[in-house]
Amino acid sequence: MSFLQVRDLTVTFQRSGHPPVRAVDGLTLDVAAGQSVGIVGESGSGKSVTSLAIMGLLPRRGVKVTGQVRLGDRDLTALTPRQMRDVRGSEVAMIFQDPMTSLNPVITVGRQLTEVITRHSQASKVDARREAESLLRRVGIPDPARRLGEYPHQLSGGMRQRVMIAIAIACRPRLLIADEPTTALDVTIQAQILDLLRDLVSESGCGLIMITHDLGVVAGLCDEVHVMYAGRVVESATATNLFGRPSHPYTDGLLRSIPRMDDDRGAALHTIRGSVRDLVPWDRGCAFQPRCDRAVDACLAGPPAVTDVSVTSPHRARCIRPVNVAASSTSVSKAKGGVR
């Protein structure tokens, strides 16, 4: 049973003198305990705004959030700012992209950890410090007692991201949102961080929303994947189905864009033509239509509905001409690289 239910989440940015912009449009998402859900999309697809909306971290002025974010039996969007502060950090927590800038440079790692622990529990300072030490050990930081007294700039990037993760899991949240947690890291460190995340999820049973542009990350980590384009989810499936039988032409294009080991060396790399800016507003048709190889006139007849493309497993695509269900040969094990 999913404890996080996002229903019809819509985020609209309103600036005076500009037409309102729908950064996220009617997003529906479920996360069950111990489940990892990926949200994939390129820059501007609305994936980061989604995470901020779930966390209630969007500015109140100029931003309209509608829809429901149910965590357990509570609707987070209906909470007061004070109630939401109690939820953040204790029930939902977030890991950010850049560990270089996401830690406070002037206070020690230990204080940043104990601050969260004492904020959400009755723990004494001594207890909090002991807890902080065991958290650092848990995320794989050697000599945690010494590290507690150090400042972020004394740690490497991978270490800092481990510290960020330790802070995020400090109060045993039910939901962890990781917003591109590996983008700023070296490739070897990325793998370690993802291993750590996967391990934490399976051990603690918390849910994980992994936000990324990196299909490889999703392939290795997530049970379920939602692909976003221009603010809407265009395809939702289990990771296996998505990589095995991509239905939406956008997903298909993304997967084809990943260079493969068995490609001819001289062959041109596959690209999706156009850019994200070439889009049709969703209420007039399919936003991806200008870039789509399969586009027909009917694509601009109206907003495309979400259809089930598989009878055996949940697999939905927002497309009137989904790619032939069993046609693609791209498989999960071949996936690597990014979307960009």
Binding site: R146, Q154, D195, G220, A335
Partner: protein, 314 residues
């Protein structure tokens, strides 16, 4: 999994490798303050400034013991005739002024006045400025607007005119001078801190702190403020230099007190005016003292700025 080898991406649950340490951990380094201090003390400018300040402060504190005579003692009046002012001698290192007082003793005691005015006016001005800046930076919105408009008004009043107005209201006194200099510095500190806090409020670590449910007060006092305070420290040191010059200027204008025998560098400059042609050195000594004291604080302030510059951090 952005590993380099495509075929190696595991799909299922991988074995636990979380305990594996990063390979790129650096050797232990000193804390932030340690590194800044090391940069500071390696800077020759800082050392020169520190020495100047040390001399200035020592002289100011130990003035009664360093000065051979009382600064108000005019028992050498008989040695002074119009146009003839005894220069340096063994008894009077810097000579005797037209009113028969020992110049060196007056200069030494003058340091006391300057330091007192500098420290008190800085403390008052910086405290008020930091409070206003904190108010504006922490709350933003209409509080920010109201506070900053008030600060703008303060900034639009010329410092010297304001000082004269204060002296006119409260009478010529040391207190007036200190209040005037303090008030002039309030908007500088307020704007500095507010600007810095506004910049920090959008920093990633502030968003991260918000995502952990840290209260508004916690974010302001534990995260934003400590990260915004460096420029205040630098400005404080530089302001001391300015305050010494301003104090001398106000004293020169005769605003620093009704007792003309009080030893004050600015007043000494003023006194020397009437005999400038016959005894130029009487103007030179207090002038040099003002310059050296101000230079000391300026050098230290600039060196602090360089040492604390976040861009210098590794």
């Amino acid at each position: 999994m952005s590993v380099t080898e495509a075929g190696s991406v595991p799909v299922g649950k991988a074995p636990l490798e979380a305990g594996k340490p990063d390979t790129d951990s650096r050797p232990p380094a000193r804390g932030l303050r340690g590194e800044a201090a090391r940069r500071f003390f390696r800077n020759p400018m800082a050392i020169v400034g520190l020495v100047l300040i040390a001399i200035f402060v020592t002289v100011a504190i130990l003035a009664p013991w360093i000065a051979p005579y009382s600064p108000k003692d005019n028992s050498w009046l008989s040695e002074v005739r119009p146009g003839v002012y005894p220069g340096p001698s063994a008894e009077h290192w810097l000579g005797i002024d037209p009113l028969g007082r020992d110049v060196f003793s007056r200069l030494v005691h003058g340091a006391r006045q300057s330091l007192l005015i500098g420290v008190v006016s800085l403390t008052l001005g910086a405290t008020a400025g930091v409070f206003l800046g904190l108010l504006a930076g922490a709350f933003g919105g209409w509080v920010d607007t109201v506070v900053m408009r008030f600060v703008d008004i303060m900034l639009s009043v010329p410092g010297l005119l304001f000082a004269i107005a204060v002296a006119a209201m409260l009478g010529q006194s040391l207190t007036s001078v200190m209040i005037a200099i303090a008030v002039v510095n309030v908007p500088i500190f307020a704007r500095l801190l507010r600007g810095e806090m506004l910049g920090q409020r959008t920093a990633d670590y502030v968003l991260a702190a918000k995502s952990l449910g840290i209260s508004r007060a916690g974010i302001v006092f534990r995260h934003v403020l400590p990260n915004s305070f460096t420029p205040i420290l630098v400005q404080g040191t530089l302001t001391l230099a300015l305050a010494i010059v301003e104090a001398a200027g106000l004293a020169f204008l005769g605003l620093s007190g009704s007792d003309p025998s009080t030893p004050e560098w600015g007043r000494m400059l003023n006194d020397a005016q009437s005999t400038l042609a016959a005894a130029p050195m009487l103007a030179f000594y207090p002038g040099l003292a003002i310059v050296l004291a101000a230079l000391g604080f300026t050098l230290v302030g600039e060196s602090l700025r360089e040492a604390l510059d976040p861009k210098m951090r590794r």
